[in-house]
Amino acid sequence: MRLRFWGTRGSIASAGPETVRYGGDTASTELITGDGRLVVLDAGSGIRQLGNHLEEHHDHVDILLSHLHMDHVQGLPFFRPLLDPDVETHVWGPVSTTQDLRYHIARYLSPPLFPVRVRDLPNVTFHDVTPSTFHIGSLTIRADLITHPGTTLGYRIEEDGKSLAYLSDHEPALGRGRIPESPEWTSGFDLATDADVLIHDAQYNEEEYARRVGWGHTSINQLGAFTKMTNPGVLVTFHHDPAHSDAELDDLHEELAGVVNGTRIIAGVPELTLEV
């Protein structure tokens, strides 16, 4: 699997002179499978650039949505292949307890919020994902719920013995304020454990988390504890807080490096490429 990050910011796009290196676009990551297939993780504003810079034409695209907050779906109608009738697009994502994925996407893709309707998209199929294991080409994908407001999925994606865990928005310390507790009672443990690469929420410093308990994100110390508990080969930090400047994020990563031992930490930034 080959990864390329296009949006690593959380909550809201935040372009500006203070966010040049860590980027302003929200969650979207390109994944090219071993057999050359394109899979996209989340459709935040970063998916626009992803769609504009594809190195080759794909007549089949799969988009995996972790959840339906705007910073993860806002870029969907700006993803060029989605508007191409010759490209077969499959959108996979969570459902609520009573409504399917298409219904929820249609609430965004409809006037007055947006001029293009779901029915205007020429060649798209929606797939409701509940906790389960399914296949996309050569990938085996395990989806499971993780703690974040609203229905939110984490994914563990495996191919040829390599594994990627994607937990973009995750609050494993919810209700406890700290981790680790036992693995049995830790959200995301099974998805993340021993993954070759873990992409994980890294939104807050400790002071910020204390004021935002229940918002669905992770503090740096909590991320360090979760990483030690789950032992991934590489940790890619993700979903940076829109209020954090490049300089502040540098400091947070330095702090994280002091907490985590034995796992390589890579800051999630636009155009970062990584082989899994």
């Binding site: 509940t130 906790p131 719920l145 993780i146 703690t147 919810l174 209700g175 049995e184 959200s187």
Partner: protein, 133 residues
């Protein structure tokens, strides 16, 4: 009983809520294993959860006894938790209950099946409300 697999998020969140409530609550997984009870339930069960840990379904009978209010035995399916587990339907009954402290109490039990996303049956949670004499 050693639990290895991670619980579902629905169960994790339920446990978090239960840990904050002053209503006695216990939680069983889909196999009938007792996976958690909160501090108020510890008083009724006569033992702290941290001391006993998860209890296998087969061992629950060693931990407490249940009868009808008049002391007569109850068939398994008359027990709200067993009914909710097997029928996946809420159930309620007043019973006499004796935990590991050996004290018999009149308790009102309400058991509710836990059905998660994708119609996954995950277990049962039950409240044990002591009936004031």
């Amino acid at each position: 009983m050693v639990m290895n697999a991670q619980q579902s998020v629905e169960m994790i969140l339920l446990r978090q809520v239960a840990s904050y409530l002053s209503v006695p609550i216990w939680m069983m997984d889909d196999a009938g294993n007792l996976v958690y009870y909160n501090e108020p339930a510890e008083r009724l069960l006569g033992i702290e959860f941290d001391e006993v840990g998860p209890v296998h379904a087969d061992q629950l009978g060693d931990m407490f006894r249940l009868t009808d209010l008049d002391g007569s035995p109850l068939p398994d399916l008359e027990l709200p938790v067993v009914y909710a587990l097997s029928k996946r339907t809420p159930a309620h009954r007043d019973v006499r209950f004796c935990g590991m402290d050996g004290i018999w109490r009149d308790v009102s039990i309400s058991a509710i099946p836990i059905e998660g996303q994708g119609n996954r049956f995950l277990g049962v949670f039950a409240t044990f409300w002591e009936i004031t004499p």
